[in-house]
Symmetry: C2
Subunit: 143 residues, 2 copies
């Protein structure tokens, strides 16, 4: 896989963001060397295949991308207000899954879990007028 300014740009944008971004947001943030939208799509797809990025579906049904820090099994916690996400390492689901297998007859091979809520920050600063949706700009540390 070749190294190109476009690819570096995409990965940089993802790295610099603390929340998942839509394809268009990524594209917009590639200030210096903006590439074509198709290039962003094509590379994002590869990054996901390679395990360098991950796509997650927001509450608003929009697909967003995050840099994938940990290769191992994990899940995402998404703040409903600012859109920031946190990775959750352990999922503590294993026991429940074994139980379910016995109950349902299914052999469970994979699961997908997304958690929604309020991050510590937004929880603290619950000032009115601060409501935001995932996909909108977050706090001052946004970008």
């Amino acid at each position: 896989m070749r190294q190109t300014p476009q690819r570096e740009g995409i990965l940089r944008v993802l790295k610099d963001s603390d929340r998942p971004l839509t394809v268009e947001e990524i594209w917009e943030r590639m200030a210096e060397k903006r590439s074509g939208l198709p290039t962003v799509y094509r590379n994002l797809e590869r990054f996901v295949r390679q395990g360098w990025a991950e796509s997650i579906l927001g509450v608003d049904q929009v697909m967003r991308f995050v840099r994938c820090d940990s290769r191992h099994h994990h899940h995402h916690l998404q703040c409903e207000r600012c859109g920031r996400t946190a990775e959750v390492d352990a999922c503590g689901l294993e026991d429940s899954l074994r139980q379910l297998e016995a109950l349902s007859g299914f052999k469970i091979t994979a699961h997908q879990l997304t958690l929604f809520g309020l991050c510590a920050r937004c929880r603290a600063s619950a000032e009115p007028g601060a409501e935001r949706r995932p996909g909108e700009a977050g706090h001052e540390i946004d970008r």
Copy 2:
């Protein structure tokens, strides 16, 4: 909400299927009184809002719809081979969530969990050549 043959048709198709269906699949199965695709979209949206149906995203990233049997909190088990789903009542996640809240500082307000695997049936009849993906025809009982 008025009762129309189109609405009855959609609900009937959903009820007769043991696996989630795409909008187009639902539309195709409304044999007698086939409606326009927009009508299917419009009603499906309402049914979901009303809690009569539920949309679930497959491993293939395609949205499908199921009749919603239980109004209470539940999750879906999807068979990767035949596409059939089962509803799981308890999710046994509650304890883990409390732990996570303490750990992450998040106040978890909602979660979305989908389980993938092999249903009892497909597990038993693991004959080669029987591979199917969600969205393709299932077993003989498919319709």
